[in-house]
Assembly symmetry: C2
Homo-oligomer: 203 residues x 2
Amino acid sequence: MQKPSYHHGDLKSALIAAALTAVDAGGAESVSLRDLAEQLGVSRAAPYRHFEDRDALLAAVAAKGFEDLSVVYENAFASEGEGRERLRAGLIGYLAFARAHPGLHALMFESDFLQRSPPPSILIGPADRAYRLLWEGLEGAFPRASVSWIRARAVTMMSTIVGYQLLDNVGRFRPHMIAPLVRADLLDPVLDAAIGPPPEGSP
Amino acid sequence: MQKPSYHHGDLKSALIAAALTAVDAGGAESVSLRDLAEQLGVSRAAPYRHFEDRDALLAAVAAKGFEDLSVVYENAFASEGEGRERLRAGLIGYLAFARAHPGLHALMFESDFLQRSPPPSILIGPADRAYRLLWEGLEGAFPRASVSWIRARAVTMMSTIVGYQLLDNVGRFRPHMIAPLVRADLLDPVLDAAIGPPPEGSP
DNA sequence: CTCCGATGTTGTCGGCGCTCACATTGCGCG
DNA sequence: CGCGCAATGTGAGCGCCGACAACATCGGAG
């Protein structure tokens, strides 16, 4: 046990870490600045020295999530194999990440942080990086495709994969709809639909 | 001005209606039972005579949303034309509904009501009805398809369309990703991806 | 007409985000 | 080396919220 010092030392990172744990455990709504402060043995007002308000802390947590997701993409795209296979691996990595951290995923993709203008500055870099990686994966899978074709495909691909994760997470697929389908059986159709066919006239 | 009577008359429906308005205006998080009570000229504790807690009221609002969505589907599927065209009209109707009521849509598809076991009983009927209608639309579009094929297609279709709406709502499509694509140009690719190709070997 | 269940009220509790005035610390500059 | 100031942490307090309990009022069934 260390002697209790007036200053915490690295309260900012500690807050992000504790908030991340809380988000993973019970979703973003369950994060309470008072709770976190007490967990870290600090007064209730201390967090406000490092984050303007609760949303700013959550934005930092979401930014950390996008950084982690980028690493997932990088690993997947660095794998061996043909372009479409690597893209597929990236999407599988995304789904694994989202299922391992449902609360964090919801914070990243369902909260309305980015809807505000301007979006929190901490978020822009990491979020854009993740999107750029996904974009490059798509380009690698369809090297002969035009830019506008890739743009449209990027939107449909992200829609399918994010929507699948959302509906699955939230329990919206009622048992009678998928009862005879093991979840593994569902994965391939979803990935096929997300990646889609190559552009007109290609191997 | 009407004489203030001790009993409100139909507080339950009035609460649902007022909550629906609030959800449309500022999302489910902005709903406060105290606020609603004051709006309706009623004391803070009165709502608890009609709803066990705040979530129960929100569940009733979501149920109303699924009923309205079912009407949208019914109208679209009753339209003239070939099966795929009617299904397409249903999806367009869904997107129009979701864009007209973003807060309500989020409450219906992003909240975790259905994740609890058991889900709120009010929700089950209306939600299942909406899903059944969508299912029938899919069957009408692919009359020769097997049940298991339809199941997989239902999941991918819903994923794509819900994910698109989610990402669009939340502003996740950063401008530089879709800048040259007008939104109308995005609709067709998304609908095509959602509906997908017919099963192997069909007209 | 009477009584009882449905409905609404007032008072209260604990939790929350956030702010302000004040206390403590340690780093950089003379 | 030491001093002073900015960074950091504290404690008290405001207003809002959900929820509960005890009490008040109403209106229809008998």
